[in-house]
Amino acid sequence: MPITVNLDVVMARRRVGVGELAERVGITPANLSILKNDKARAIRFSTLEALCRELGCQPGDLLSYDEEETNDEH
């Protein structure tokens, strides 16, 4: 997948743990771990909005696009 979730980087910068963020965002720690470990297939706008609100960042800080990975898939 050429889209990478950089949630772990942002969380480390903000010094916030999985349990605490999951509670603030309103999702389960298991689902937040899936997102953090880049195993998610898709993310809802509502989840993205809550993450941006709680981490004080932009969607672009959490997601990045890697063109090389797209080429690797083909």
């Binding site: 899936i34 997102l35 898709a42 993310i43 809802r44």
Partner: protein, 154 residues
Amino acid sequence: MPRWNTKRSTQASIIATGGAIVVAITTACLLPFVPRVNQDGPVRVDPDWFTRALPAMYLCLAAGLAALVTLLVVLVAILHDEVFTTANVARLRAISWCGVAIALVCVVAGFATGAVIAWLVIALIAGFMALIMRIVKNVIDTARVLQEDADYTI
């Protein structure tokens, strides 16, 4: 009276499949005696023809039994709410191939033993069953991907 639901329907299918397995095994056990029993019966069977057709019948029974046992495993998995899984897709694919195997055996047996029309009718039914199973397999596989997407949408 208990209401009819999906679980009961699956249980009924399991019982029916179990019954079909018993019938298949019983048929396999009784097949060699068919010419003797039918010697003076209403439907006469030519013992020579029957002996020639027996290997094909057993091959069809073996493939049919394999399909039925696999179907039973699929139904038990469905009963345990494991529907859209790669294991079930593989099982349905195996059942489909069993149908193809039966169809091929019947075509060969038809030309090898005579009674072509009867064998071809069975081959057609088995081939059609294989086709339906393949379509069901494709549907389950697509549903599995959709469910995985839904499960991993956060």
